[in-house]
């Protein structure tokens, strides 16, 4: 057994990583991340793109006298002009406006926000640079294309969604699971927003859209894990084999490979976007979207395992029925410890594979338990194989 690597055990859903037991650690990490994120959002804020913050637009005729400039030349000249005024300013987009009534094309170059005085200076610099007719060049403040109403309605939608999804999860699972799932989603959202604020990535409409994609995806992961937890803990109080926390830890382990797989499969295309967007094109929509999705989805997978499930056990520990059941299982185990030597040995042998830190009381018991299920299964598996080999490929190979 020891010869089998983590990968193989993961593959078989028997990694036996003690996740629930270290819940205090995960909560501490989550708390730190949330505090850092919120502090960063509060102090640093976001680097908002021109679509949110508005900007300055320069309008330049394509042809002045006998000289005709290309869009790129004008765009570069504007870039130089605004950089000379404000080193942080940048050109956001440039477009060619074709007049339908004749009279030549016009280039519109949009840059980040400048004050009226700065814009005037930049315009002067631009006119001198390209030797333009000053009266033909105009600068204008441009408002945000993403109106305040869009943000307001999106936030309202987000709140309503959280309420609706909470109700759905309460019906589908129970309120504790719903609360844990939504908390995990919130953690994911806050963390992703925090990363944006902290690193200072630009927030564009693409980022917001990506951010909203995380909504569904993050919960998707949690539902997968909770579904298994629900399955494993159905009627758990009727038997005294394992505590709720142990059953949850088992479910998390069983779905670990699933979570890693779903995470990978979803992140691969996102990685493709990021690679092309950031690597080949440098900046723009693809990078914005790829980045937010990569952070949000990646963290969403982690949060579903390391935060949602542990949080659920915390809620569950407070449920009288589960509390009594856990006490019963532990008491029974303590009394059986001296009697059932063989079983103790087996589980003891397995527990060496596991991580050792078991501070939580529930965990002291959870250490032997994860090993217990494969044991039980092995017996049944063995009986299967006994009658099975004939018609099973596995048997043939051997």
């Amino acid at each position: 057994m020891a010869s089998q690597g983590l990968a193989a055990r993961l593959y078989a859903g028997e990694a036996n990583v003690n996740i629930i037991g270290r819940r205090k650690l995960w909560f501490a990490i989550a708390a730190v991340l949330v505090v850092i994120s919120i502090a960063s959002i509060a102090i640093r804020g976001f680097h908002l793109g021109i679509e949110f913050a508005g900007g300055t637009s320069f309008s330049v005729p394509a042809t002045t006298g006998s000289t005709t400039y290309t869009q790129d030349e004008v765009s570069d000249a504007v870039e130089r002009a605004i950089k000379s005024v404000d080193p942080n300013a940048e050109v956001v987009s440039s477009q060619t406006l074709g007049s339908t009534g004749g009279g030549g094309d016009t280039y519109t170059v949009r840059a980040s926000t400048l004050t009226a005085a700065q814009a005037e200076q930049a315009k002067t610099a631009l006119v001198t640079d390209l030797k333009l007719d000053a009266t033909k060049v105009s600068d204008d403040q441009v408002s945000a294309a993403w109106g305040g109403q869009v943000t307001r309605q999106a936030l309202l939608g987000l709140i309503i969604f959280l309420i609706v999804v909470m109700i759905y999860l309460i019906i589908r699972f129970e309120w504790r699971m719903a609360a844990a799932a939504v908390s995990s989603l919130l953690l994911d959202l806050i963390f992703t927003a925090g990363v944006y604020s902290l690193v200072g990535f630009e927030v564009t409409p693409s980022t917001v859209v990506g951010f909203l994609t995380i909504l569904g995806y993050s919960l998707y992961d949690v539902v997968v894990v909770f579904d298994k937890v629900q399955e494993n803990t159905r009627g758990i109080t009727a038997s005294s084999i394992r505590t709720y926390n142990e059953a949850t830890n088992l479910a998390v382990n069983q779905t670990l490979m699933r979570s890693i797989n779903t995470g990978l499969v979803a992140l691969l295309p996102v990685g493709g976007l990021l690679f092309i967007g950031a690597g080949l094109l440098g900046a723009g929509t693809l990078k914005d979207l790829g980045l937010v999705l990569f952070v949000g989805m990646g963290f969403g997978v982690l949060a579903s395992i390391m935060f949602a499930a542990p949080l659920l056990t915390v809620f569950k520990d407070r449920e009288p029925k589960i509390k009594a059941h856990t006490a019963r299982v532990l008491a029974r185990r303590a009394s059986a410890k001296s009697g059932d030597v063989a079983r103790g040995e087996r589980t003891g042998g397995r527990s060496s594979n596991m991580a050792e830190s078991d501070e939580a009381p529930a965990l002291a018991s959870s250490a032997p338990r994860p090993g217990a299920r494969p044991t039980a299964k092995r017996t049944s598996g063995g009986s299967n194989t006994n009658r099975g080999p004939g018609n099973r490929p596995g048997g043939k190979r051997r």
């Binding site: 078989a12 909504l215 499969v265």
Partner: protein
């Protein structure tokens, strides 16, 4: 259900979708033209129009009202949230709207203010400006047309239809005059008396200056005569009675606008052409009486008792009875009270009320007063009120399917707080262009390739199921995008394309859930054949729960949000529904069929091999 039947359903959906793509929703052009989704402003460029806010009283509109106007225009141009329009405020008073593709038509009516007012009609007279200026030399002809009038007005339908300006205009005027005199001579003065009270406008300095100019322009004699008018000048008895007012005919729309409503109404030489030339928003004032033209005659309307803001919802409807398009209105609770009060006033008006006289002048024999439905500068309709209306009411007018929808949208999105004049439409180039589009498609290919490699590596032969269904999802999504682009204007920006790529990856997630379940079942000692239906039953529950959440997100965001977020929700919903279609109608039946083949049972080809091998190993160890 039999796997074959599910695949047949899928095939049917596929065929129908692509038939729609090629032949429905205004498909035209060559084979490849019909396969183009609608690409966004960032990728292919489009059309741009600038709307300039009119300066009122020498003041640039406030930032707030410009922002509000921007939001409303944004909603008008992007009612479904899928057209990816860009609407920005440029400088102090310009709103620039950019739309993908050739969109001149869509940009035309965007800047209409859409101020709706419901006003009681309290006076009506013909547009007699032509006759007043050029009194007919042959008196008999006037008399003849005068005598023709009663017969016309006896039939409301003909009376309501727009009379030609010159000949019947005189009869209209005469008709109005006659009716006013016949029943009770008193109501007219009392009408004007009550009218003049609220009509004293708190004119701005600019308006006062303009008014003084107008006084000078028309001359003191004409001004004095006009100021004394309390009823339409009756040209039927004296065809030359319009003479003293001749100078008024030279006034421009702006100049007419500063006159009192009474003057605009009673001075016979002010015609509909001048009234229509008044600036936008000329008759918006809620607390004032106003004059407008309707069916070629002038009508004087009371203060607006009900306005567009009182409407909670407007929707276009086809009246089953007469096949006419109408706009159906629901009022807010407060608005409903006001509307009931207004219609009661019109319905219960007795024959001595000014509105009764006016309605008689408009329609001949009547029983109730008329309420004018005014949108911006024009009277859409001025129907007689047939009862006290409390609930849903309808506006009739010369609507067709698209104009009724346009009006309903405008009412729903609210009126612009500022009036605009529109500049020319210009073509605008793409901000990103085809290079970025190609990069996006390359990214898609890389992403899909990675998913496929991972699937083959991890699940071996089962990977081919993933690969095939990704391909299928891709084709279905593409077909849906082309069709939606043509029918509801769904526009794909680069972000949209990226979103769909990601959604394909997320769709592959549901495979992982299914296959891992399958592995569990086989691990627990089931044969692949019995494991498939069991794993499916369990995975289905998880997949449905997870997708329900995504669909909830899409529906909630679509209903609540506006603009780009709404467009995103739409795309999310489409992608999720397609995912479910592929999961239920392709993957499950294919897996059922797979489970009964030899290849599936071989560990080498199916990714389940290692699990199958593991069971014996465990035995040895145990």
């Amino acid at each position: 259900m039999h796997p074959g039947r599910q695949l047949a359903v899928l095939g049917f959906i596929f065929v129908v979708l692509y038939l729609l793509v090629f032949f429905a929703g205004g498909a035209s052009g060559s084979f490849t033209d019909r396969l183009h989704p609608k690409l966004g402003l960032d990728l292919v460029g489009g059309t741009q129009a600038t709307y300039i806010a009119s300066v009122q009283g020498g003041q640039v509109p406030s930032k707030e009202s410009m922002e509000q106007a921007r939001d409303i225009i944004d909603q008008r141009v992007n009612a479904l949230g899928v057209s990816e329009a860009e609407v920005v405020i440029q400088g102090d008073r310009n709103i620039v709207v950019s739309l993908a593709g050739k969109a001149d038509d869509q940009l035309k009516d965007l800047s209409q203010a859409a101020q709706m007012r419901f006003r009681l009609v309290i006076g009506a007279t013909g547009d007699v400006s032509t006759v007043a200026l050029n009194p007919p030399t042959a008196t008999p002809s006037a008399a003849a047309s005068g005598s023709a009038k009663p017969s016309t007005s006896a039939k409301p339908s003909t009376g309501a239809s727009a009379p030609a300006v010159s000949s019947s205009a005189s009869t209209g005027g005469q008709g109005g005059g006659e009716v006013v005199k016949a029943p009770t001579p008193t109501p007219t003065p009392s009408a004007s008396a009550s009218a003049s009270a609220p009509a004293a406008p708190p004119a701005s300095a600019d308006e006062k200056a303009l008014l003084a100019e107008v006084q000078k322009k028309v001359g003191t004699a004409a001004w004095a005569a006009a100021s004394k008018l309390t009823a339409p000048v009756d040209l039927s008895t004296d065809p030359t009675a319009g003479k003293p007012y001749a100078p008024f005919a030279k006034l421009s729309g702006d100049e007419v606008n500063v006159l009192t409503p009474q003057m605009q109404m009673y001075v016979p030489t002010i015609g509909c052409t001048q009234l229509d030339a008044r600036p936008n928003g000329a008759i918006d004032a809620v607390g004032k009486q106003v004059v407008a033209c309707y069916n070629g005659g002038k009508i004087l309307m009371d203060q607006a008792k009900v306005v567009g803001d009182d409407i909670s919802k407007a929707s276009p409807q086809l009246d089953q009875q007469n096949g006419q398009w109408v706009v159906s209105l629901d009022f807010k609770s407060e608005g409903s009270t006001k509307w009931a009060a207004l219609t009661r006033q019109a319905f219960e008006a007795t024959s001595d009320a000014p509105c009764y006289t006016a309605a008689t002048a408009m329609y001949g024999s009547i029983e109730h007063c008329a309420v004018a439905v005014v949108l911006d500068k024009s009277v859409i309709s001025a129907p007689q009120i047939q009862g006290v209306l409390t609930g849903t009411s309808q506006i009739t007018g010369q609507f067709n399917a698209s104009s009724s929808k346009e009006l309903a949208d405008q009412l729903n999105f609210g009126a612009l707080p500022v009036t605009f004049s529109s500049g020319p439409a210009q073509t605008v180039s793409a901000t990103l262009g085809t290079q970025q589009l190609q990069a996006g498609l390359i990214a898609a290919a890389i992403g899909m390739g990675l998913v496929a490699i991972y699937a083959f590596f991890y699940y071996r032969l089962l990977g081919s199921v993933i690969f095939l269904s990704l391909l299928l999802s891709g084709l279905l999504t593409f077909g849906a995008l082309v069709f939606l682009g043509r029918t509801v204007g769904f526009t794909l920006t680069l972000a949209g394309i990226a979103g769909f790529i990601v959604s394909l990856g997320v769709a592959a997630d549901s495979f992982v859930i299914y296959f891992e379940r399958l592995k569990d079942e086989i691990h627990e000692g089931r044969s692949p054949r019995s494991a498939v239906p069991r794993a499916w039953a369990r995975a289905r529950r998880t997949i449905i729960s997870a997708n329900t959440i995504t669909i909830l997100a899409a529906v909630v965001l679509y209903i609540v949000s506006v603009g780009a977020v709404q467009g995103f929700a739409f795309a999310l919903g489409v992608a999720t529904v397609l995912d479910l279609v592929v999961v239920f109608l392709f993957r499950h039946p294919i897996m059922t069929m797979f489970a009964s083949t030899k290849a599936f049972l071989s560990p080498r080809v199916s990714g389940l091999g290692r699990v199958l091998r593991r069971a014996p190993t465990d035995v040895k160890e145990a």
